[in-house]
Each structure stands twice: as C-alpha cells, then as structure tokens.
Amino acid sequence: MTMLGRLTFAALEQGPIVFAAQMLVLFGALGVAALITYLKRWKWLWNEYLTSLDAKKIGIMYLVVAAVMLVRGGIDALMMRAQQAVAVGNNAGYLPPEHFAQVFTGHGVIMIFFVAMPLMFGIMNVILPVMLGTRDVAYPFLNSVSFYLFTAGAALVMASLVIGQFATTGWTAYPPLSELAYSPGVGVDYYIWALQISGIGTLLAGINFIVTILKKRAPGMSLMKMPMYAWTVLGSMMLVVTAFPVLTATLGLLTLDRYLGMHFFTAGGGGNMMMYVNLFWAWGHPEVYILVLPAFGVFSEVVATFSGKRLFGYTSMVIATMAITILSWLVWLHHFFTMGAGADVNAFFGIMTMIIAIPTGVKIFNWLFTMYRGRVRFTTPMRWFLGFVALFTIGGMAGVLMAVPPADFELHESLFLVAHFHTMIVSGVLFGDFAALAYWFPKVFGFTLSEKWGIRAFWAWTVGFMLAFIPLYVLGFMGATRRLDHYPAGLGWNPLFIVAGVGALVIASGVVCQAIQLYVSIRDRRKNRDLTGDPWDGRTLEWSTPSPVPFYNFARTPIVAIRDPFWAVKYGLAPQTPENDYLSIELPRGSGLGLVIGGAAFAFAFAMVWHIWWLVMLGALVMLGALFVRFLDEDTESIISADTLRRFDTATV
C-alpha cells in the first residue's frame, strides 16, 4: 500500500481529447486565480464572499458555480450531439465508446446536481429571506456549510476530468453495471462521493429553508399571505428533506457493495439490483419536483408583476403546490414499468402519474388567467414564461402519454423519453431560473440586465431547443435508444441527428448571448442603475428595499397586513401599516469554517475514491474539529445598533 493509494501517473494520461479538457480545467482555474491576484481582490473575496454568512452573498456564489458547471455540461452536450451526428455506418465518430459513456454520464450528473440545483438554491438564498421580510435564513452558518459541501461535490466532478475517469454508467448508475465487478475503476466512486457530499449539503439546506419559511417571516405574514414563490420553495424543501435521505441511503448501500464486498445490489450473493432502481427513483422522482416547484413559484411572481394583476387563484395555487408535493412521492415506479411488477402495480403508478398532471394543469391555467385582461409587458422574464408554457405543455403531454404502461414498454429508454424529460427540465426548470435571474438581477446588483440581449438569448434557446429535441421525439418513435455512440446507416436517423446537432449549436449561441448580455449590462451599469429599488413595478416585499439590498435587508422590520403588501401600499389599496421603530439587530459574523469543512470534505471524498486512507482520516478529523471549534464559540453574532441602522437607512433613501 503506497501513500497515494491506487493513484498513479497513469490516471493523468488519457489521450488527446481528455488532455485538452485537462488543460482547459487547469488553465481555467489558474487563469481565474491569476486574475484575482492581478486585481488584488483576494482579501476582498475572502472577507466579502468566501467567509460571508449573508444568504445573499452565498446565493451569488451558488450562481457562479452553476454558471461554470453549465458551460461544462453544455460542452458535454455538444460533444454528444457531434458524435451522434457523424457516428453512422462505417464512421465510428471521434469519441471512443468508453469516453462517450463518460460524457453522457457527466452531462446528466452535472446538469441535474451541479446546474439545476445550485441555480435553484442560489435564487432562493438571494431573494427568499428578503421576500419574507426577514434578515437572514434560520441557520446562517449551516447555510455556508451547505454551500461548501455542494461545491466540494462539484469540484470532485471537475477533478474526475483531470485525474482518472468519471463513471460510464449513465447518470442513474444502475447496478450491476455500477458494481465493482463491472466498473472496477474510480469512475463510479467519483460519482458516489460527488453526489453523497453535495447531497448532504442539499439536505441541510432543505432543513434550513423550511425553518426559515415557517419561523422567520415578517410579523403579520401568515402562511396564506406569503408570496407564491415561498409556498413553492416550502413544497420543494419538504421534498428535499424527505427524498434526499433516500439518496444518501442508496448511495451508502452502493458504497458498501463496492468497498466492503456486501451484496445489496450485486448480480450474485443474494443481492437485488431492482432494489437500487426502486430506491434511486424514490429519490429521483421527487427530485424532479424539487427542481420544478421553485420555478413554478418564480413564474407566479413574474406573471403577476408583468401583468399588473394579482396572481389568479392564489388558494388553488397553494393547494396545487401541496398536491404536487404529496403526489410526487407516489409515482416513482413509472421510471421502470418494464421491471415487470405486474399489471396492478403498473396501473396504480400509471394512474397516479396522470393525476399529477391535474394540479400542474391548474397552475398553467392560473397563470394564463392572471395574464387575461392584464396589462402584459413582454419583458425578458415574461418571455421565458411564455416559452415555458408552450414547451412545457408539449413535454407534459408526452409525459402523460408515457404514463400509459403499454406505451411506456415501447418508449422506455428511447430518445422519446430523453426528449420528454429535457423538455420538462429545460423549459420548466432552466427557463424558470433564467426568468428569475432577469427579474431579480437588479435587486441583487443594483442595475438591470440588457433587455435586447436577454430577448436574443430567449429566442436562441427556444428555437434551438425545438431544433434539438423535436427530432429526438421522432427518433424515439423510429426506435432510437438513448446513449448510442454509433448506429447503422440506412435507418434514416442520420438527418434527424444532424438537425439535433444544429439545434444544440443554436442553444450554445443562446448561452453566448447570455454571456454578452452580462458583459454589456455590466459595461452600461451606470446607465441602467435601478435607483428606485422597484424597476418592474413589483408587488412583494423585496421591491420595498433599495437595490442592491443592504446587508441587513430591512432597517426596520416590515409589518405585513395583506398579500402583495408592497403593491397594495404603493397604490393606496391598503393603508400604510404602522412601521416598527429602529431596533438594534444581531447579524451573524463571518466564518471561514464552512470553507474548511467543504475543503476537508473534498479531501475526504477524493481520498475515498483513490483509497488514500490516511487522507480519509485526516479529512474526517478536520471536519469534526471545525465543528467542535464552531460549537465552542458562543460569540458568533455582531450587533448593529439602532442608531447605525437609522443612519444607513436615511442615507440610502
């Protein structure tokens, strides 16, 4: 046994394409570090962001990581599309099967765990406490730990690109393929630890936000006066704290199989691989709703604001949100009707799957009725919403079609399925997050984003999406299965794959538009400054604060008497509520221990992957030690006096 376990130089030598990726990661990281050094921003970064316990700052860090990972996952997507556009007949394509398998696995894992999740958590951190009229989340330090555990997971996936391989099993890592007997390398171990570490971070964040919503709302804001976004986050986080433990347990069992030779999911020894598939989707299906519910909440805020009307059917929206939360626990088996559980079981899950479309339909109609006879302004966020309605309805109907078990037997693991879930996640989750970013950007940074480039990005994404995925629906009907690195000529598939490839390029141009949008907006930030704090004629509490939101959120705790309190008071529809006097407040002091825990978690996980046992022990000890240091410190808050607050507040107004 060497000092470095099974890590050798061979882990670094993997041919020209991987070499290019390795260099990209390395020089990317070095370039960023050099840039920060050149700008002399290390101290600023450390004090203002890395050690900050302010939810708004943590939210921005989530969004930065999400943006980096979106580019990585997007490059994976382009590589797959390029391979499938050319790998037909005698042409084997440019990617060997082993590498292609890593690319589709990486794409799935990254887009779900390290793009969609951090976008959701980033937006929540940035805006939810302000929306609720509170100063911070329930547990600011835990929030920092959650972020760094998540980032440790993302870093592990990036590390797998440079050192060793990633899993070749697909993002679901079904056994027995993911067992030691068939995947002896480090790929599946990277997968397990990246998901395990970031999953625990997610679980802790889930607890944090539930308590924030239930216990930290402004006085007077009863549950039924909360903004719709808060309701959807509540539903989503309830799913996080009930579903992520299932993922933790499942990955734990796979770990025991791989590290200690147990027989949970092995092909022999009394294992049962379908147990894994059931457990995985018992987490996996709620996960879909974890992602999409907050996006539904974003759309509820966006549509009401840009239609100049209150949200239609608030109560039915709350009921629909909670119905989806509960029903999403009762549909997991539709991911594997082909298991052969029998007609009765399949029928139950098929019917439940169709039923869940009903509350979702309620939501769609509520949004449309909100627009009805409103003064609709077609801003970027509103366009993302309209694109979402069109695409999501198509994707949703494809889903109801596959909920019929006999139809699913035909379409199972086909490209039709791939097209379906991409429609749901891209239009539902990603468009929702993009709408949120455009909508709340001025609140966070103090200036609005360029509408021109936002709308260009919207069209590129929408048109590109249709070009990329409508061919996949057709290909699915033609019998093309997912994850093909090569297919015979003469099936008539190639033209459709080429169209899909062109679509992926158009989507990529949408990402380029977003990058230009960011650049142009920062360049013109003085011109586009949001001086009022209310650039969109908003309705909820966050628009009552100056932009960007001051670190204490509210100088005086707001008192809420009505839904959409800011709008109501602004237009004289509700009397001005009596304002609290300035009071001294406690805010959490910054702490670098979250970063220490995340770093130690990364070292721990990396060492587990490569069997470097001394580093495993060291990582675990550092994590425990950091927790002890935190527990012993009873002086974690700093006090801001009422006078200081008054001075800040009158200066900003």
Binding site: K216, T242, D257, H263, F264
Partner: protein
Amino acid sequence: MTRDLLVPSVQVTVPPFTERREITLLGFWIYLLSDAIIFACLFATYAVLHVNTFGGPGARDLFSLPYVLLETFVLLVSSFTAGLGALAAYRGNARQVLGWFSVTLLLGLAFLSLEAHEFVGLVAGGHGPAQSGFLSSYFTLVGTHGLHVALGSFWMLFMLIAVYLRGLTETNVRRLTMLSLFWHFLDVIWIFIFTIVYLLPFIK
C-alpha cells in the same frame, strides 16, 4: 384591474420574535425526520433482502432472543435516564444533569459493547456482512443504528464536559434538549429493529 385587490382589515398582531431555541429545535426535528427516512430505506432493504440467505444461515439460526432482550433493556433504561437528565436541565440542576447523563453514557457504551460482541461473534463464525444479501442488510441496518449510538455517545461526552466547564448556559440546555431527543429517537428505531429483525423470525 386593481379593484380585485381586496382591502383587508389592518389589524395586525405582532408576534414576539420567535426565539432561537424554538428555531433550533424545529430544525432538529426535521433532521430527525430525515434520519428516520434513512432508516426507513434500510428497513425496506432488509425486508426485501432478508430471505436472500444465498445458502447461508438465516435469522433463526444466528440470533439469540435473550441476548437481544438484554441489549434492549440496557438501551431503554438509558433512554429513561436521559429523560431524567433533560428534566434536571430544565430545572437548572447541573449536578443532576452530570449524574444522569453519565449514567446514560455508561449504558450507551454497555449497549455498544453488547452489539460489538454480537457482531464479532458473527464475523468470527464466518457470517460476515459479505456472505449474503441477508447479512449485508442485517449488518448495515443494525450497524447504522449502532453508529448513531456511538455518535450520540461522543456528543454526550462533549456535553458533559461543556456542562462541567460552563454550567447550564442557554446554549448547553438547548443542546441537551436536542441530545435527549436524539437519544429517544434511537430508542424508537431500536424498538423497530428488535421487532422486525429479531422477534419476527422467531414468531413465524
């Protein structure tokens, strides 16, 4: 357009700010819920795999009910003493807190020794967790519970030192409350383990 915004009554009762203790405890309850779900997964796995003995011994061949009954009593009594300790914490009696939680810690360690003895015996007899799906799920379910008891014991040791050094500060009382919740939770899990893993095979 704006008419549909109903004007509500302006009567707003301002509730006192929720105290930190209440906030922490709610979060801890939710953590316990999520931990219970981890155990639920392990129970489900055990339920599926316990018949997969792969030609090896089954539950009836390996377990001894009187021995497990002893483990159960040790753990149940420790839960009782932990409860007494928590009550003493609410009364502000630091000496009793130290006393009752020390007893609880000793009982917890006794439980862990009993369990370790059982595990060592099984492995020594050639029936380790790698033998069959049944034994994998058995060791993992019972072992995860044992791991929780071990972590709870460390926590208890930490709290004993903290109370000894700093007395019953607000922070310490809050943490003792969580610790006793955690300990009772492990008891509840054990009742299910006792019933499903150990008792059921002998009833059938």
